[in-house]
C-alpha cells in the first residue's frame, strides 16, 4: 500500500508491504542509513528516531503506521552546524564504536527538551534506560548529555 511521510522536512511516497518496519523503510527505501538496527527486539534503542516529535524505536513500528507523520532521523538533526547534542558527544567523547550513538542522541535530545537544563544525572540515566551501549561507555554519554542540557536549557 502507498504511504507518504515527511522525513527531515522532505516528503516521500513509497509503495510498501504492510509488514515493512519503519526502520527498514528509512534505511532501505530512503537510503538514510544513520539510523541503526541493533537488537531488532525493541530493547537497544539504536533505531530511535523522532515520530511526530516523540522518540520511538523504529524497529517496533510498521511504516504504514507512520503514514502522514513527520519524522526526524539523525541526518535531520543538525542545522548549519552540529546540533548541541552532537557537539557534546564529540566534546565529551560520548562514544567508542559509535553504533548506539545515533539512537542515544535522538533519545537524549527529547530527554533534554522534556526536562530542560536542570536535568539530574539520575534523570539522564533513567531517561537513557532504553538505549544500550555495548562498549559500556555510559560515563561519557552521561557527561555529554549534561553538557548539552546546559547549552540547550529550556524545558517544560
Amino acid at each position: 500500500m502507498q504511504v507518504t511521510m515527511t522525513v527531515n522536512g522532505k516528503s516521500y511516497t513509497r509503495d510498501v508491504e504492510p509488514r515493512l518496519l519503519l526502520v527498514d523503510f528509512i534505511r532501505s527505501e530512503l537510503a538514510l542509513t544513520g539510523t541503526n538496527i541493533g537488537c531488532d527486539t525493541s530493547q537497544c534503542g539504536a533505531c530511535t528516531i523522532h515520530l511526530n516529535g516523540k522518540a520511538v524505536k523504529s524497529c517496533t513500528v510498521f511504516a504504514v503506521q507512520a503514514a502522514g507523520a513527520e519524522l526526524t532521523t539523525i541526518e535531520g538533526l543538525a542545522g548549519t552546524g552540529l546540533h548541541p547534542m552532537q557537539q557534546a558527544f564529540w566534546d565529551k567523547h560520548g562514544l567508542q564504536c559509535g553504533y548506539c550513538t545515533p539512537g542515544m542522541i535522538m533519545t537524549a535530545v527529547k530527554l533534554v527538551e522534556r526536562h530542560g537544563g536542570t536535568l539530574s544525572e539520575e534523570e539522564i540515566r533513567h531517561g537513557l534506560a532504553g538505549n544500550l551501549c555495548r562498549c559500556t561507555g555510559y560515563q561519557n554519554i552521561v557527561k555529554a548529555v549534561q553538557q548539552a542540557a546546559t547549552e540547550m536549557g529550556g524545558g517544560d
Binding site: R19, D40, T41, S42, T48, V56, K57, V61, Q65, L128
Partner: protein, 286 residues
C-alpha cells in the same frame, strides 16, 4: 526479523474498528501501541492475518471526567501522556513514569497494556489497586467491567471476540487517601519479577479505614491480596501491624517459579514490597 504477511486496515472511528472486527472474526487482531504485539509477530509467536490499527482513532485518546466523578482515560492514551497529566492518582503517575523505557512510554497505551494482560506487566496491579473499570464496546453493545472481573487468567481477559476496550475509568482517590507502586524488576527486560500496588484511605484519627493491595509478576496473573487488605483495617502509620499484614501477602497464592526467580524468592519479594508500598501509600495519605 519479519512478521508473517497480514492485511492492514487503519480505522478512524470506533464504529469502523468494531465493523472490521466483525468482518474478519478471529483472523483479526487490534494494533494499539504495538509494543507487545509487534515483537510477538516478529518472533512469529503471533501471526494474525489481519491487523486493525486503532492509532488514528481520535476518540480513543485523552482524558475526561464522567458523571460519577471518575477520571476517564481513552484506551489509546500513552503512558507518557498519563504520567504528564496530573491525574491526582499517585500510583498511576508513578507506574506510567517507570514502565518500559522512554521510547516505549511514547508508544505503549493503557488500553493495549490491560487488554494484553501480561502476567509481568506493571499496570494491571495499579489498575486493580485503584479500582479501575474498563469501558468495553463490542457486538453486544457497551459495558463496564471492573478490573478484577476483566482479568480472567494468564494472558486471558473477559474480552469476547469483536470487543474493544475504549477507555479505562478510575474513581477519584478521595481525601486522606494515597497510593503507590513498588517493583523488583528483571534488570534486562524491566518486567516485574514482583510488583505490588496499594491504595489506602485513613479516617479522622489516621487509622486505615479502606485499603486495596494488588500483586503482579509473581503469580499467573495480577490479583488483589485480600488477606493483606483485611489485616490492614484499623492500622496506624508506623505500627508493627503493617508488617504483620504484609506477611499475609502469600496466603492462598501459588507463586511462579522460573529462571528469573523461584517461588520462595518471589514469596519473599512479595512480603517485602507489600510492606514498602503500604508505608509509601500511607505517607501519601495525608
Amino acid at each position: 526479523m519479519y512478521p508473517a504477511k497480514f492485511d492492514y486496515y487503519q480505522a478512524t472511528s470506533v464504529d469502523e474498528v468494531l465493523s472490521l472486527l466483525q468482518q474478519h472474526g478471529e483472523d483479526a487482531k487490534i494494533l494499539a501501541g504495538g509494543h507487545s504485539l509487534i515483537p510477538m509477530m516478529k518472533l512469529r509467536l503471533a501471526s494474525p492475518a489481519v491487523l486493525v490499527d486503532i492509532g488514528q482513532v481520535a476518540d480513543l485518546r485523552g482524558f475526561s471526567t464522567v458523571a460519577d466523578g471518575s477520571l476517564r482515560i481513552g484506551a489509546m492514551t500513552t503512558y507518557h501522556e498519563i504520567a504528564d497529566a496530573n491525574t491526582g492518582l499517585d500510583a498511576l503517575t508513578e507506574v506510567c513514569s517507570i514502565m518500559g523505557d522512554l521510547q516505549v512510554r511514547n508508544r505503549g497505551t493503557i488500553g493495549g497494556n490491560l487488554s494484553h494482560n501480561d502476567p509481568a506487566a506493571d499496570l494491571p496491579a495499579v489498575a486493580l489497586a485503584l479500582d479501575a473499570q474498563l469501558e468495553i464496546r463490542g457486538p453486544s453493545g457497551e459495558r463496564l467491567a471492573p478490573m478484577e472481573e476483566f482479568i480472567v487468567g494468564l494472558m486471558e481477559t473477559a474480552l469476547a471476540p469483536g470487543d474493544l476496550v475504549v477507555a479505562v475509568r478510575f474513581p477519584p482517590s478521595g481525601p486522606a487517601s494515597g497510593s503507590a507502586y513498588e517493583k523488583f524488576e528483571n534488570p534486562a527486560s524491566g518486567y516485574a519479577i514482583c510488583g505490588v500496588a496499594a491504595w489506602v484511605r485513613r479516617d479522622g484519627t489516621g487509622r486505615i479505614e479502606s485499603c486495596r493491595v494488588a500483586l503482579t509478576g509473581a503469580a499467573d496473573y495480577a490479583q488483589r491480596l485480600r488477606p493483606v487488605e483485611e489485616a490492614m483495617m484499623g492500622q496506624q502509620a508506623g505500627s508493627e501491624g503493617i508488617d504483620a499484614a504484609a506477611a499475609k501477602a502469600g496466603e492462598g497464592l501459588q507463586f511462579l517459579s522460573d529462571i528469573h526467580a523461584d517461588d520462595v524468592y518471589r514469596a519473599h519479594l512479595t512480603h517485602v514490597l507489600t510492606r514498602r508500598v503500604l508505608q509509601k501509600a500511607i505517607e501519601r495519605a495525608q
